[in-house]
């Protein structure tokens, strides 16, 4: 069971990015692009989520010498963490709310998902 973590807005953005595509592993650069978070905020969050058992990470399957570049590290949201991540976003009104239940606010893209602020 993943441990509880502090749900800050950047953390939710990162979780949103993972929830938008559950099947693909995301590298730090991908997440940064999607969430527009700076590396200074992003990597501590990734480490925290990984440490608490929400994320699993694996290295890109290449030979750095052949490719001439370092390997990327791909993160995926663990299956047992997905319901909690979704719930966390729903609790804060960032995910799963339909446009009709939203309080008149325009949808905001959070990690590739259209989200509706609960006000």
């Amino acid at each position: 069971m993943p441990a509880k973590i502090r749900m800050t807005r950047p953390t939710m953005k990162v979780l949103g990015a993972f929830l938008s595509d559950l099947n693909t592993g995301l590298s730090g650069a991908d997440i940064a692009k999607e969430t527009r978070l700076m590396s200074g905020s992003l990597y501590p969050i990734l480490r925290r989520l990984e440490k608490q058992g929400w994320l699993s990470a694996e290295w890109e399957d290449i030979d750095p010498k052949e490719e001439g570049r370092p390997r990327r590290r791909f993160y995926t949201l663990k299956a047992n963490a997905q319901p909690r991540a979704k719930q966390a976003l729903i609790d804060r009104g960032y995910y799963g709310a339909s446009p009709t239940t939203a309080t008149g606010s325009a949808p905001v893209t959070l990690g590739g998902i259209n989200v509706y602020s609960s006000g």
Partner: protein, 211 residues
């Protein structure tokens, strides 16, 4: 009047000589100019910043983070933004380290109240040394001593704690060395600043009079 410069063979000879010199200069300057290429230079600065960031991290995370952050660096376009990523890696490393080492609470305890030093110090002493890197220890000890230095009460309390715990701390030679070295530098720095200002106070009016 006929001069040497008017002779065709001599002019040709000068032309060949000038070309040879130009080739030599371009061969010498070319690689240097290439190494001064802004993009190349910026990437090397970014990479050294990432190395610096990585050195702040605990040993177990260094290689992992270095490779991951380098890979991220190369994924960033345009290259001018790479420097931002590298600077941010330092911030990330500091945050990650403070979480791993539980050092942040120590700093907070010291900056809040002298009484809290005791709790902070005990955390510092008991929990951290298995996982602390020298760089992180240096950072924190410098901050600790700079903070302490500005309040005599805190200095007395800290020294008292060190004195009381000297047997416990005895096997932590590294800590002792670093703490006292940093303390020494803070004291030395203050003495230098103090002396310089005193000297300037005496000599500046004299110099003004002379001028």
């Amino acid at each position: 009047m006929f001069t040497l410069l008017d002779s065709v063979p001599f002019v040709l000879f000068l032309g060949v000589l000038a070309s040879l010199i130009a080739i030599m200069i371009s061969n010498w300057v070319g690689p240097k100019a290439k190494s001064l290429n802004a993009k190349y230079h910026m990437d090397s600065v970014s990479m050294s910043l990432i190395d610096r960031a990585v050195s702040i991290l605990p040993k177990s995370q260094r290689e992992l983070s270095r490779e991951e952050w380098y890979a991220h660096l190369l994924d960033i376009e345009p290259p001018t933004l790479r420097l931002t990523h590298a600077v941010n890696c330092i911030r990330a490393a500091m945050i990650i380290s403070s979480e791993v080492y539980v050092l942040a609470p120590v700093g907070q305890a010291i900056s809040s109240r002298a009484v809290k030093i005791a709790a902070g110090f005990s955390t510092f002493r008991v929990k951290l040394f298995d996982r602390l890197t020298l760089t992180a220890m240096r950072y924190e000890s410098i901050r600790l001593f700079v903070e302490i230095f500005f309040s005599p009460a805190k200095v007395i309390l800290a020294l008292f704690l060190i004195f009381m715990d000297r047997r416990t701390l005895f096997h932590k030679k590294k800590l002792y060395k670093i703490l006292f070295k940093d303390c020494f530098y803070v004291v030395l720095g203050t003495i230098i600043i103090f002396t310089t200002t005193r000297i300037l106070k005496i000599f500046l009016p004299l110099m003004n009079n002379l001028i």
